[in-house]
Symmetry: C2
Subunit: 209 residues, 2 copies
Amino acid sequence: MKIYKIPEATVMRLSVYSRYLFQLLDEDVKTVSSDEVARGVGVSSAQVRKDLAYFGEFGTRGVGYNVEDLYSQLMKILGLNQRWNIIIVGAGKLGSAFALYQGFIDRGFSIKAILDIDENRIGQELDGVEIEPLELLNNRVKEHKVDIGVITVPAVAAQDVTDKLVAAGIKAILNFSPSILKVPADVVLRNVDLSVNLEVLSFNLAFNN
Amino acid sequence: MKIYKIPEATVMRLSVYSRYLFQLLDEDVKTVSSDEVARGVGVSSAQVRKDLAYFGEFGTRGVGYNVEDLYSQLMKILGLNQRWNIIIVGAGKLGSAFALYQGFIDRGFSIKAILDIDENRIGQELDGVEIEPLELLNNRVKEHKVDIGVITVPAVAAQDVTDKLVAAGIKAILNFSPSILKVPADVVLRNVDLSVNLEVLSFNLAFNN
């Protein structure tokens, strides 16, 4: 299957569709229409069809989609038919919350290592994973075949940690720090800034009133 | 100032620009060009100019922007020249991390109440705010003039909490649960799904290899 440039918003919706289909599977539903998927997740049915069309033909006209088939196709497209190993750098409040967040475990993500520079945190455990010194970054990435680095360090340290992750061979980074990070073209970077999310809300509140 | 439909990506970049300007202010820099802002935050200078153009004329051709003026204009546009009161519903791992996250306090956001239904959590404190029973939602929203509701409850409870927040008069909701929530047209909803962020990465890793 040749994949052209897929909009990020499509990828995010595929993730949402796959969760909805999982729910249907759980309720033993066998087939579903694009209309039903659309209603179930709150988008238009044209959107559902367009998103799926990037990846070829899934449904049968007049019959709809086979729930199990579509679910497993979407999981495969999202790369969730395999395990992904994660390293967390920064075991502060946000890093701990991320480590303890259970939402992605049943989607195939596994936290293999958690690093910090704070002597008081090193040696403690988060959900069974020991917090270890930052110096072990390269070793742990290689030993655990880590795929994804999660950055939950203060802004000033974020680029340095990014460089270390990249040097260790990491190709995907989820950044929770408010820094604008530079990565080579072959590394996927995704920023999650909690403050920015709040500020989109305050912007809307300020200007709609 | 009449505001037309502003792309969300623009609003998010304004937030990033404002942080960069704050840094410049701190370094006592007086004027800055769109090129410098662009380089500082990692976007094109055309993008900086286009984003700012939504809100009128800021700079002087050939001179650039006055850092202090532009900073205070951006803060005003983002609604950050005022305080915003927050209520957190769900004091589990994610709710606690959010409550303890310091990143948005100096941007004018203030956590006024934290609610939960778990007897073991109620009565505990998070950064000086006591966790109280969910039943107090309506009272606390009114008493503290809460502007923004943050939802960090499990998916199954999220719509119910949303309905309660909306009924209490909340016009902006930040949702961390993986649920697709329904809100009236006059309520701004923003979803932050940690798993979806990871899945955009796994998608890229799976398809670029």
